[in-house]
């Protein structure tokens, strides 16, 4: 009888200690969780292409990263990133690789915006729309796009009242010519 | 505009090709085939011809199904080499149906399941050998007794190979007298019966001399391959050396369950495998140091499986196990050799 009682007490003690320990771990994990979430958001953000094009429905890459981490939004909403970004995100988050949601847009080769200078009326609307401050100019003066900084996000197209902005493929020149894949 | 930059035609007089490499391997196999013919009768020739013929047909069929050009992979002789290696590994008495199964496994599971030539992680011939060994343990351990060769004719062999499909030998009492286990299988039986090896070695109940000749002939073929630079010295040397060192140490300090080193080296598939199986470039390690590790591993595993495992000779399994390790070996060598 005494041994049975002892056994039961020991079992309870073990369970109690284990439970207390687990609770402790759980609370400790909870304390760190917001930090962890922040660093995860940063990592996700780094995997996104940073075009800031808002095609995903969020006002930029970081907001989309926050939505992915906090609200579990689908990872296939980024057209500029395409399959590569989806794969990288899937690897990071341990999710299955899913095809790009083409409702948001199609994956296109890199492009840059140029302003047709003779048509520009200097309204500064595109300057306000540009998410990366890649357009320079002043009211009633001609604007121009800084080619290196343009991400090709197309956000400057809708505000332009005279439709003087065009998107052209990134220029192929001597400095960025890529050796083609050999025929196999 | 083509962007071919290296004009190889300008600097090399004769163009190296896969076909030439494979042809040299086939030439190197010839002395071994002759020796086996002399030792075990026409069965080995039938095996080689049948396996090659069927493998080529199957390969062409698979290539057609996979919509690949027959000109490239179909004519590069690699499948002929693989089929010949399989045919030389199996007993000459093996029924055609079983050999057919082996070739099926070789071409389909050994090679094309992984994407064809150059993509397979495991030696196709050894995959087929292992599948055969597991599936038909009885017919895979039945060899002609070299001393009774005079009574084996081509017709008899053909008849045996086509008719004795799966029948136990007791149906063919006449054959029982002239078929026997190889020395290694005999050793294994003795071990199972807990008899001491030394007695067997003293009595020479199974004569080993003819098998030494076969091994020597394969050795000559291997030396030819080394001379033609088809294979590198690292793998055969390390396989044989590691096997020899361990058996020497074990025979000296260990129990008496292991025969002496000469017996060990020249029985079973060790010499044949060291030069022809382990050196298969597709499934072997890449770098010099990697090849040394790979060869040593095969030697050690072959020793362990042969004398402590459940099979009479473990070369096929040793090769397959080391094939598994090849990517790791290559990676480790690369990391270690970086300055």
């Amino acid at each position: 009888m005494a041994t049975t009682l002892l056994t039961v007490i020991v079992c309870f003690a073990i369970l109690y200690i284990a439970g207390a320990w687990l609770t402790h771990i759980h609370s400790a994990a909870n304390q760190n969780s917001s930090d962890k979430q922040q660093s995860l958001i940063n990592t996700v953000n780094e995997l996104l292409p940073q075009t800031q094009c808002a095609q995903c429905g969020y006002p930029g890459c970081r907001p989309y990263a926050e939505a992915i981490v906090k609200n579990g939004i689908d990872i296939n909403l980024c057209p500029p990133g395409g399959d590569q970004t989806i794969e990288a995100l899937a690897n990071l988050l341990g999710q299955p690789v899913i095809p790009l949601n083409t409702e948001m847009g199609e994956n296109k080769p890199p492009q840059v915006a140029i302003i047709v200078e003779k048509d520009c009326i200097g309204c500064t609307l595109c300057i306000q729309a540009c998410p990366v401050d890649a357009i320079v100019g002043a009211a009633t003066f001609m604007h121009t796009v800084i080619e290196q900084d343009c991400t090709g996000c197309e956000l400057c197209l809708p505000p332009c009242p005279v439709d003087c902005i065009e998107l052209v493929p990134g220029k192929t020149g001597i400095s960025n010519w890529a050796w083609p894949k050999p025929a196999s | 505009m083509s962007h071919v930059s290296v004009n190889t035609a300008l600097v090399r007089s004769e163009s190296p090709s896969v076909q030439r490499v494979m042809l040299q391997v086939l030439v190197a196999l010839l002395p071994g085939i002759v020796a086996l013919y002399w030792l075990t009768g026409p069965g080995v020739l039938l095996n080689v011809v049948f396996a090659c013929f069927f493998a080529v047909i199957l390969e062409c069929m698979v290539l057609v199904v996979r919509k690949k050009s027959l000109h490239g992979e179909g004519t590069d002789l690699s499948i002929v080499v693989a089929a010949s290696l399989l045919a030389l590994s199996v007993p000459p008495t093996l029924p055609f149906m079983h050999l057919l199964f082996g070739v099926l496994v070789l071409v389909l599971l050994g090679k094309h399941v992984f994407g064809g030539l150059g993509q397979n992680p495991f030696n196709p011939a050894m995959v087929a050998y292992a599948a055969l060994f597991i599936s038909f343990p009885q017919s895979m351990t039945l060899w002609f007794n070299p001393t009774e060769l005079t009574s084996v004719s081509l017709l008899d062999t053909l008849k045996f190979k086509t008719e004795v499909v799966g029948q136990t030998l007791s149906h063919y009492p006449a054959w029982d007298a002239i078929t026997k286990a190889t020395p290694l299988e005999h050793l294994r039986t003795l071990k199972l019966n807990q008899e001491t090896i030394s007695v067997e070695l003293a009595n020479h109940t199974v004569s080993q001399a003819p098998w030494i000749i076969v091994s020597a002939c394969f050795f000559i073929g291997g030396v030819y391959l080394l001379w033609r630079k088809v294979i590198q010295w690292q793998i055969p040397v390390t396989v044989i050396a590691s096997f020899a060192i361990v058996s020497l140490v074990w025979a000296t300090f260990g129990t008496n369950s292991i025969p002496n080193i000469g017996y060990s080296l020249f029985s079973g598939a060790l010499i044949f495998g060291a030069f022809f199986i382990a050196t298969d470039p597709v499934t072997a390690a890449s770098s010099t140091a990697g090849r040394i590790v790979y060869g040593t591993g095969i030697g050690l595993l072959a020793f362990i499986i042969r004398y402590f495992g459940g099979y009479p000779d473990g070369f096929a399994f040793a090769v397959l196990l080391m094939n598994l390790c090849v990517p790791t070996i290559d990676y480790a060598v690369l990391k270690l050799s970086q300055p």
């Binding site: 001597i174 | 300008l10 896969v18 690369l334």
Partner: protein
């Protein structure tokens, strides 16, 4: 482990004297196949037009300093550090195809050549000390050195080995390190070595050999000059043993040099085995010093500078006041009617070179290739201008191997010949699977594109083209990543700015509101006052 391997390598392979240098891994023994060495070097007549691409080593576009219609003299700058090869008039600035594997257009200056009898006066500043004695070069203070480097720059000196790296930039760190007595900054455990690369290892190219046979004295003087300027502890000229005549000439010149000058560190003549690609910079450094240079570092980090023998000659020419505007080119190949080595001004078209050397028939009938069989590339457009990278023009009957690539059988022939300890077949595997980061991890960027692996591949896989392709892809990925980072920073900065502006505007609004809140009170008073005043006035009126 790697240290142990290196140590073993050193013990086993280094025989400890200069006659037997370090061995390198892999490589190929190829027949040298050098043609036209029995003929003396002719300077071909200037063509009617010269085409000078406005590009520097880093493929950045240069701003021209001349305008259309200007008369230019030989040696005058067309752009910064870009001397003009001949007297003439600037005809136009336009996009032309230049000498490289890719068919892309580049901004070029086209010059109409005026052949004048007068020798041109170089306009770049040349060193004033025109001493003929060797001791004259020994004044090794800062200002002279810097002046010298500046002159090299102004004379447009680039390496003549094939990569066309600016020579002054290569020497700059070295000279500065010496001047500032900061030798400890560089790895002092290594000998500070100056290597003159005369190992012209690629088959058929013979321009360096021809140069050594013709101008051994000047080369040695150039090396002596370099040696004294950089104050190296060891100076080696490495020549392959397949060039006995060149070795003899250089040896003679060195002996002559020794009789005229005293020095603690004589120039060593190192005869190395003929084995491709011993002339590649990293391989030659390995042969001479036993030091292998990882791709992340420069030879200078290990106290080594490697210059082509042609560059040494050009350094001497520069010292004599002559800018680098021409080079020696081998016209060779099995189908070249009249193989020879000629001196060609930069900007001359291939067509002109071949026509003026009696090789016109090669133009029509055969395939033309710029560079050697391993590192060169086929040329379709015969108007391409010669540049300082062009060391060879060859003609042959068949263009590149037309054989179809077969699957890799991992025969490891490529591993055995790779001088950089790579596993080309493994890299090929990763590249085929678009596994870029893995190919980077396997040291793809160590590849020197020597083409040894292509030569030995039994499956005829264009391995080095795969590597060029993968390098381009990786560079593109890196660039994209960099761009993404820039975009992210700009985006965040913009957001901060917008927030700041918004906060300021809100502050402004709040301030105005508070102003308004106080104003109505005053306003009411005013109104009340006004009403009171009005009432008072009315009252006054009534009274009156």
């Amino acid at each position: 482990m790697s240290k142990l391997l290196k140590k073993i390598e050193r013990v086993v392979f280094n025989r400890g004297n200069n006659e037997a240098p370090f061995k390198f891994h892999g490589g190929l023994e190829l027949a040298p196949n050098k043609l036209g060495l029995d003929k003396s070097i002719q300077t071909i007549p200037l063509p009617n037009e010269l085409v000078i691409p406005l590009l520097n080593y880093h493929k950045q576009l240069l701003e021209p300093v001349v305008s259309i219609g200007d008369h230019v003299q030989k040696g005058q700058w067309l752009a910064h550090n870009l001397p003009c090869p001949a007297n003439g008039t600037v005809r136009c600035l336009e996009e032309r195809e230049v000498m490289q594997a890719q068919p892309l257009l580049t901004q070029c200056i086209v010059i109409d050549v005026i052949v004048s009898s007068k020798t041109a006066i170089p306009s770049g500043t040349s060193p004033t000390n025109n001493c003929n004695t060797i001791s004259g070069y020994n004044d090794n203070d800062n200002s002279t050195n810097n002046l010298w480097l500046e002159t090299l720059q102004q004379h447009g000196l680039t390496g003549l080995g094939g990569a066309a790296f600016p020579t002054a930039a290569k020497l700059q760190t070295w000279v500065n390190a010496n001047n500032a007595n900061t030798k400890k900054a560089v790895n002092t455990s290594q000998l500070a070595t100056l290597i003159i690369n005369a190992a012209e290892c690629e088959p058929s190219i013979a321009c360096d050999e021809a140069l050594m046979q013709a101008h051994a004295d000047e080369i040695v003087k150039g090396i002596e000059l370099l040696k004294n300027r950089v104050q190296c502890e060891r100076c080696v000229i490495a020549i392959e043993d397949s060039k006995p005549r060149a070795i003899a000439k250089i040896k003679l010149a060195l002996e002559k040099q020794l009789t005229t000058t005293k020095t603690d560190t004589p120039i060593e003549l190192l005869t190395i085995p003929t084995r491709y690609p011993s002339g590649a910079e990293s391989v030659l450094i390995k042969i001479v010093t036993g030091q292998s240079i990882p791709k992340s570092k420069l030879p200078i980090d290990f106290g080594v500078v490697c210059l082509n023998v042609g560059t040494a000659y050009a350094v001497w020419q520069s010292y004599q006041g002559e800018p680098l505007t021409s080079r020696i080119i081998s016209l060779t190949g099995p189908a070249m009617p009249n193989p020879c080595n000629v001196r060609v001004s930069f900007g001359t078209s291939i067509e002109h070179v071949l026509k003026s050397t009696g090789n016109e028939s090669a133009l029509k009938n055969y395939t033309i290739r710029a560079g050697g069989p391993l590192t060169g590339f086929p040329v379709r457009n015969m108007q391409l201008p010669v540049s300082s990278k062009t060391n060879c023009i060859s003609a042959h009957t068949s263009n590149a191997s037309a054989t179809v690539a077969q699957p890799c059988i991992r025969c490891n022939a490529c591993v055995d010949v790779c001088p950089e300890y790579l596993l080309p077949q493994q890299l090929h595997w990763h590249i085929s699977a678009a596994n870029w980061q893995q190919s980077r991890a396997q040291n793809l960027f160590d590849c020197i594109e020597c083409g040894c692996c292509d030569v030995v591949c039994p499956s005829n896989i264009e391995l080095s083209n795969y590597f060029r392709y993968a390098k381009a892809q990786l560079l593109e990925l890196d660039w994209q990543e960099e761009q993404a980072k820039i975009a992210q920073i700009r985006y965040e900065n913009r957001n901060k700015r917008l927030e700041r502006l918004k906060a300021e505007r809100e502050k402004e609004i709040a301030f105005r509101k508070s102003k308004l809140a106080t104003k109505p009170a005053q306003g009411e008073n005013n109104i009340a006052d006004a009403i009171a005043r009005a009432k008072a006035r009315q009252r006054n009126k009534k009274k009156s």
